[in-house]
Amino acid sequence: MGTINVSKKYTVKERAYLPAILIGMKITMKRFIQGFLFGKHDTILYPEKKRDYSDRFRGMHFISVDKNKTENCTACYLCETICPAECIHIEADERDEDNNPYGVKKEKKPVSFDIDALRCCFCGFCEEACPKDAIKLSTNYELAVSSRDQAIYDLDHLKRDMNGRSEKK
């Protein structure tokens, strides 16, 4: 290592400082006119207009459902096991054997499926682990809540009828 000296000799024009100021002022004036006369801005007016993220963005989870609005989750505990933040809590139960239209495909069901969004690190491991494509991450990033209890989402809240990840479709 050792110190790298990046200083250089300044020319007279650079040392006079004023030409550089004028160049800077030209730039800000250009921006000012663009903003003032043409209303140009690079920011978005957030609550009215939302930033579009790609479908690969990992936001809040949801649990996909089939055409009967029954969740695809079979309470296999794979997501709970792989979760590095330990934010998923599942309680499993058997479906009623006599009255099960899915047969062997959905023998188990989650009685409760809670995700603590405050613990979650949005790594997406649960989504990768899931054999049924039941738990997925949506592109929803507006997760502000006013108390800690509200950040624990249950099964009813998580169930969504969506094809892909974003709500656009």
Binding site: G24, T28, R31, F32, G35, F36, H41, T43
Partner: protein, 363 residues
């Protein structure tokens, strides 16, 4: 006799009202423009929620300031603590009284000189009150008994003092040219043309104008010389312990000082209330269209003089905002270097050169 007294008094009140209402009315507009202009220069939108184009944002701020708790720190020196914002606001307002905003209007057969206080020592008076601007900085910093405030006050006052010297020398070089302390005589000296340029002080003495211009940025604590404030180093600066209306007073004082400095710069170097080039034909056209007499012409001229003065002040106010959002701030040693090693010698040499020039042209 009675009537003239009442007339004079009412005219005086009217002039004071014009200056006071004008200045304090410009402050909220400037606050809005500062924020909106900053946004435009940085490709943002800026405050646009309160009222049309966010124009009522300053009003919302004022309401917030008024309803805040009046808080005085336990160990603060109450008297000086409360004195500081008052001085900060009053000193530049007093200095504004001497800056003329027009030659004279004729009302009811009386000549009314458009300046609140007619003084032969006008510029000295302005300098005295501009010099008072150091006191609120020191008082506020010291009286609130906070280490950060004291640091901000020290930085601010040393900056103001070191720039006041070059400012005074630049002003002195103009006094040599004008040969008078009276702002009216300065403005009348600047009438006429220098070739194709107006005979403004800035074209007679460009170096002095530039130094004065730079110095008023430091005097009013504006960027790039806002060393009295520093969020990252000293939390806020000399007004750290102030809140509510007391902070609002400091905030307003900054803008009043900017208006005062702009007016002073316009009067000394940019023709003051002298009408802008091309306006005289406009006055002739309007006057002859409505068939004005001599009185009407004079009043029309006074109105246009006021418009010219306001335009110049508005331009310099815009420059304050423009420069603020263009330049990064100086480091403290760079600031002192610029003040003492560059501006001070240049202004001294400039004073000598201008004095020799005036001697040469007059003899």
């Amino acid at each position: 006799m009675e009537n003239t007294l009442i007339f004079d008094l009412s005219m005086m009140m009217a002039k004071i009202l014009v200056i006071l209402a004008g200045t304090l009315g410009v402050v909220p507009i400037m606050v809005w423009f500062e924020r909106r202009g900053a946004a435009w220069m940085q490709r943002r939108v800026g405050p646009n929620r309160v009222g049309p184009f966010g124009l009522l944002q300053p009003l919302a701020d004022v309401v917030k300031f008024i309803f805040k708790e009046t808080f005085i720190p336990k160990n603060a020196n109450r008297f000086y603590y409360l004195m500081a914002p008052i001085i900060a606001l009053i000193a530049p307002l007093c200095a504004l009284a001497v800056i003329p905003f027009g030659s004279k209007a004729i009302i009811n057969g009386h000549e009314v000189i458009l300046q609140v206080a007619q003084m032969d020592t006008g510029v000295i008076f302005i300098l005295a009150f501009a010099g008072l601007e150091v006191y609120p900085v020191i008082l506020a910093g010291w009286a609130s008994r906070n280490k950060y405030s004291v640091l901000g006050a020290l930085r601010g006052s040393s900056q103001i003092v070191s720039y006041e010297i070059s400012m005074g020398l630049a002003l002195l070089s103009m006094l040599v040219v004008y040969g008078s302390f009276n702002p009216h005589e300065m403005v009348s000296w600047q009438q006429g043309t220098l070739g194709f340029l107006p005979r403004w002080g800035a074209f007679v003495n460009p170096v002095g104008a530039l130094i004065f211009w730079i110095a008023i940025f430091a005097e009013t604590n504006r960027l790039p010389f806002d060393l009295a404030e520093g969020e990252s180093e000293i939390v806020a600066g000399y007004h750290l312990e102030y809140g509510g209306m007391k902070f609002a007073a400091f905030f307003m004082a900054e803008y009043v000082a900017m208006i005062m400095a702009s007016g002073l710069l316009a009067t000394l170097f940019f023709g003051g209330y002298g009408i802008l080039p091309g306006m005289s034909t406009l006055i002739q056209a309007i006057g002859s269209h409505f068939a004005f007499g001599e009185v009407g012409f004079q009043n029309l001229k006074a109105a246009f003089e006021f418009i010219s003065f306001a335009t110049k002040v508005a331009f310099f106010m815009f420059m304050f905002v423009w420069i603020r959002w263009t330049l990064p701030r100086f480091r403290f040693d760079q600031l002192m270097d610029l003040g003492w090693k560059i501006l001070f010698p240049i202004s001294l040499i400039n004073l000598v050169v201008v004095t020799l020039g005036v001697y040469y042209f007059n003899s």
